[in-house]
């Protein structure tokens, strides 16, 4: 099951920083992610949720917050 808690755990594992309480808050603006942590985070999300993110979907906007990640995974993850 896709939950924001599982997503938070993945993001925190990669970023080694606490994720903002507000799921809508930008992971970039809050300093949790930078450009080079983003590919790692998406890789970990793919493993955790058994989903393959195609290159066409590899845009930072889709993975900018816990809420957006949850939206994406709810459509694409099994």
């Amino acid at each position: 099951m896709i939950t924001q808690e599982r997503i938070r755990a993945v993001v925190e594992k990669v970023a080694q920083k606490p994720v903002p309480a507000d799921p809508e808050e930008s992971l970039f603006d809050s300093g949790v992610l930078d450009s080079f942590a983003l590919p790692d985070m998406i890789g970990e999300l793919e493993k955790e949720f058994h989903v393959k993110v195609p290159d066409a979907d590899l845009t930072p906007r889709k993975f900018d917050s816990v809420a957006r990640i949850a939206d994406y995974l709810s459509v694409h993850a099994s």
């Binding site: 450009s35 080079f36 590919p39 290159d55 066409a56 590899l58 845009t59 930072p60």
Partner: protein, 308 residues
């Protein structure tokens, strides 16, 4: 069949260290290094053109093969001073090759990898192919409004490679090229505007596409990435090079890097790196070496060679 016969390079004399750039951009020198791995870069003089840089690099290359006849000149540049003619014909003429066909390859950072792959195919038809990649990125990033995040990255320089249909230090085995215009807006240079780069998109895409194209190429020949002796990459950003090494699960030490000294010289960077690496006599018999690049378009690709 085609071989990499000789390499050459040229970087302008003026060294611009992070401290100088940081003062003008309002940032810290250490920040520049931490986000890019760059310590300094070279800037051409105002009077120097991309053709001037190209002629220097090509001359440096051709002195290694005295009297070599060239059947085709390819010049890669994304920062040429005018729309047309591109720098290829003028470069060829200044090298004493007026009359030799000369074509431009304006695909920015991926220009060298495309030029190597295409040149290797064309050598059978034209004879020796002189590939030159030349960039004056300092002129591009100086255009207002200046973007600090891109201004810190780029430098000027040129590299060259003589591709020979008959002999050389390394034989070209195969290549793999791709283009996808879906992200054209994310990395672009418009007339009289500064370079626009959405770094997050570029890094995200490159960190996937470059390992994937290298794997695609190596799998055709059943070569594990771990068996590759050296990876010669477009020198975009040290952190990106590390990310690509991670994606291929190979030690980053296998990736030759000179970005600390020259910054990102766009298409020139791959050939400058190859020239420096080759000058150390690094090609080994039967050892695979992979060239790879990625840039605006997006265009990306990889080339497999083995030492002869």
């Amino acid at each position: 069949m085609a071989f990499l016969r000789a390499f050459g390079s040229y970087v302008p004399a003026r060294v611009v260290a992070n401290a100088e750039l940081a003062a003008s951009l309002g940032c810290e020198p250490d920040w520049i290094f931490s986000v890019s791995g760059i310590l300094e870069r070279r800037y051409a003089a105002e009077s120097e053109s991309v053709v001037d840089l190209a002629v220097q690099a090509a001359t440096n290359c051709l002195t290694r093969v005295p009297g070599a006849e060239v059947g085709l000149v390819i010049v890669s540049s994304g920062s040429a001073e005018r729309r047309f003619p591109g720098p290829a014909a003028e470069t060829a003429s200044r090298l004493g090759m007026a009359g030799t066909p000369a074509i431009d390859l304006p695909v920015a950072s991926a220009g060298s990898i495309f030029g190597l792959a295409l040149g290797a195919k064309l050598a059978a038809a034209f004879g020796r192919v002189l590939l030159i990649a030349t960039e004056k990125m300092s002129a591009v990033i100086a255009r207002p409004p200046q973007d600090r995040n891109t201004a810190i990255l780029f430098g000027d320089g040129a590299g060259a490679c003589l591709i020979d249909p008959e002999q050389g230090a390394a034989e070209v085995v195969d290549s793999c090229l791709h283009s996808d215009g879906s992200f054209a807006e994310n990395l672009r240079l418009e007339f009289d505007r500064p370079l626009h780069m959405d770094g997050r998109v570029v890094i995200l895409q490159a960190s996937r596409k470059v390992p994937a194209v290298i794997r695609e190429l190596l799998e055709r020949h059943r070569i594990p990435a771990a068996s590759v002796g050296t990876f010669l990459m477009h020198q975009a950003n040290q952190n990106l090079i590390a990310k690509i090494a991670q994606g291929l699960e190979v030690p980053p030490e296998k990736f030759y890097s000179n970005i600390a000294r020259y910054g990102n010289t766009s298409s020139a960077s791959l050939l400058i790196a190859a020239a420096e690496w080759n000058a150390l006599g690094r090609f080994r018999t039967e050892e695979p070496v992979v060239f790879a690049g990625f840039g605006a378009g997006f265009h990306w690709g990889a080339l497999l060679v083995v030492g002869t």
